[in-house]
Symmetry: C2
Subunit: 246 residues, 2 copies
DNA sequence: CGTTTCGTTGAAGAGTGTCAAGGCCAGTGG
DNA sequence: CCACTGGCCTTGACACTCTTCAACGAAACG
């Protein structure tokens, strides 16, 4: 069950040379600090598309830094309803939900073949105790997650379908850009149903709204392939189209 | 503007004798630990009903532990829509949103006269560095907030009005009980509009659903006064009423 | 005691959900 | 290499929940 899905333990980890440094690590670390830090990452782990990194109820032992790939996290209510709580891409940290009860409270599943750095939590606590910069950075990451979720609550609680989709596309766009990919053209790694679950909509609504956006010349869509044509137009929609619609 | 709203600085803080100990502090602290901990709480601060503890954009300096009273946190979109992200009661920690950017990202306002313990963040970081128990506890508190928000996302993303209200009432009920108040009878400190904002509903819907619950004999409502009659019935509603409705 | 805020309730309408049918695409096996 | 299969996406028609608009009543506040 929990047999590690290929551990590349021998591979020296080298955060120092990882191209995700700026996303993953605090800035302004000394070389010595970075060396210390590399002790943190025990191993890497590959997760095949469709497999889960961890599941609700699993013992919490590690955090995971996404090296490459794409994942989703979902929570489930007792009666079986599923809610996608987030999508994760390279440079992001997942597993924070597990700290509170020492059990994971959500499922995290790879939407494409994915590789993560495994960060044993106990070791993180140790290293952090003697490294204020790291501790501080870690706290900021957790806090950022809280702030992100506030944003999602705003979206779910007070926005219409079109606004949600527009916000979603802009968010993806910006995250791709931050990772050096195109800001305007990308492939959705998730299905319409998963987008819908995340945004509190049904998959048909997601599909319809995307088609409408395409008709209005805001984007081009072809299955999972999306191209953003009018970023400003999308922004307008997010803020209750002060000057949009036709 | 930011002139402290009455600081009771001289008052010795005495976490050790605070009746919120179990809610607020890690369990199993030695006396020595508790002494150290009391250095944490710089002052207390009173916030009058309607006043804000902090606002979005304020510099982040401290966390606040609610001693008594009731608050709400709200985020606002650029175009002015407001979303209540949470209600806070005695023993809960607020202000975690500020850590990430060193600016608060939400408004936190007292819904009734409130008193909080002010915990300067820098001091918390210091004390935590030499007190693993505290550090660990703090991480758990942050993680718990993340998990709580996952729950809210589930609610906002996949539940109907009745289910949301039922879940909301049960959540309040449980939190009151944990603080030694009645599990079945309490006063809502927030307006229908605030409940609605939190639950992604309009105030009229909140009002209607509460009336319907009352008609169905699940609760009694009289303005802000609520009495829960049929807890199991509410639970049934939350999980898609497998055997409810009449 | 007047004023304001808050809450309740009704009727009509908009926005999404539901159900259903059909098309597109990738992977599989012949 | 092609046909088949199953998952995913699109689109339409209709139903339903929730919102909107409006009026009124009740409580809170100065």
């Amino acid at each position: 069950m929990n047999a590690p899905t290929v551990n590349i333990a021998n591979l020296r980890v080298a955060c120092s040379s990882c191209n995700l440094r700026e996303l993953c690590l605090p800035v302004g670390l000394s070389l010595k600090d970075i060396e210390k830090l590399e002790e943190l990452v025990a191993t890497r782990k590959k997760v095949k598309r469709g497999d889960s990194l961890f599941r609700a109820g699993d013992r919490f032992e590690s955090l995971y830094a996404v090296r490459l790939g794409f994942l989703k996290s979902t929570v489930m209510s007792q009666d079986g309803r599923e809610q996608v709580t987030g999508f994760h891409m390279a440079g992001e940290l997942v597993g924070l939900d597990g700290i509170s009860s020492e059990l994971h409270s959500c499922d995290t599943v790879a939407l494409e073949d994915t590789e993560v750095c495994v960060i044993p939590y106990e070791r993180l606590e140790e290293v952090a105790s003697s490294m204020p910069v790291l501790r501080n950075h870690f706290h900021k990451v957790m806090s950022r997650e809280i702030v992100r979720e506030h944003g999602v609550m705003l979206l779910l609680g007070s926005m219409h379908a079109e606004e949600r989709l527009a916000a979603f596309l802009l968010n993806l766009s910006q995250r791709f850009e931050a990772r050096g990919y195109s800001r305007t053209e990308f492939v959705l790694r998730m299905t319409r149903a998963e987008i819908g679950s995340f945004l509190g909509l049904k998959l048909e609504t997601v599909s319809r709204v995307l088609s409408r956006f395409a008709q209005d010349g805001l984007i081009e869509v072809n299955q999972k392939h999306v191209r953003i044509i009018d970023t400003e137009g999308l922004r307008g929609i997010v803020s209750g189209q002060p000057g949009a619609a036709a």
